[in-house]
Subunit: 205 residues, 2 copies
């Protein structure tokens, strides 16, 4: 993707700016100042300007940044248009929520299929994508050129299903279970650590 | 809660250690070394020891940390036992997933009720909790002594529902929508920025 070094925190903020800009577009707002963005996120104005300076953005006038241009600068820098082919493994409520999340496509996430061990769900379509048995992971992974698996199974199935995914050649796992997975060196796991995020929010409050 | 200063990143890691320790307990493993924890998370051994030194933990022997004691040290430091009363606002798939998330109670999250604008869902129970109309937020907030609202409505309803929540006196919002909410100064929002997390994971890959 890009060669610019951007810190994790800056990436996080840039995607939030992107949410704000998307909202502006929906409301027909054409330009926005760094102060407005900073105010909504309760961060420093200078931080916003610094983050935006990381982008190759040129659309700034006296009244502020051009919303469309700034939005597309963020998309370009973070490579939203690069397609990431995704399996959702675990078709429970969370898997369904992610499969139907209307924003995923905007971020280049292309959901190929879902997987679940409940036979009642097999061949059902969610958000236009079919649910397959977990056992089909290997076969479908061979057919479909998957990049990332999103893991949304119950915690007591997490490691076993991970072992299946590894056998199927999955190299990137976005883990929504509260289990720290054991994986070989060439597999990367991103823990979507909800409770860690929650305690960051509430700790000391 | 506690008076010890702990960085956001350390809080995040401590909750992941807690996941590992819970898994050990389920498997009947009594003690664990910092090397094992570090290996599972692919971080530095010394980082794990440093984080654990923030806790008031005493159960360390030659073979490693006592799993039960380390687990309860983390729970104590991050105040898991302090009850946080929660409304889930938006009873779609994500709201359902969170309402049924069996781990929430372990972290002190006490879900009081869900809210949704779909009349077909009203009075239905999810995970033992009733779904009320959004209009009942104010009345129920008065009755139930709620601390935190988890926002899981569709993005196009996010700001309007937030305005309702503010009217109902909600002061802490855990926002799962991809919308940056506009709130008064005395209301705090924690953005569960899924796509920001995702791009941290994939950026440059």
């Amino acid at each position: 993707m890009s060669s610019i070094k951007i810190s994790d925190k800056a990436i996080n903020r840039l995607t939030l700016y992107h949410c704000i800009l998307s909202d502006c577009l929906r409301k027909g707002v054409d330009s926005i100042s760094s102060t407005t963005i900073a105010g909504l996120l309760r961060i420093d104005d200078s931080q916003v300007r610094k983050d935006i300076s990381l982008l190759n953005n040129t659309g700034k006038s006296r009244v502020g940044y051009d919303v469309k241009e700034l939005k597309s600068s963020i998309e370009h820098t973070l490579a939203f248009s690069k397609v990431k082919n995704v399996f959702i493994v675990g078709a429970g409520n969370l898997g369904f929520a992610l499969a139907k999340y209307n924003n995923f496509a905007n971020y280049g996430l292309n959901i190929l299929a879902l997987f679940d061990n409940n036979p009642l769900k097999h061949n059902v379509e969610i958000g236009g994508k079919k649910i397959y048995p977990i056992e089909d992971l290997k076969g479908q992974a061979r057919k479909m050129d998957v990049d990332i698996a999103i893991l949304t199974v119950p915690y007591n199935a997490a490691q076993q299903v991970t072992d299946y995914m590894i056998e199927a050649g999955i190299k990137y796992i976005w883990n929504f279970t509260p289990v720290v997975l054991s994986v070989p060196d060439d597999v990367q796991v991103w823990n979507e650590n909800l409770m860690g995020n929650f305690f960051q929010f509430t700790y000391g409050k």
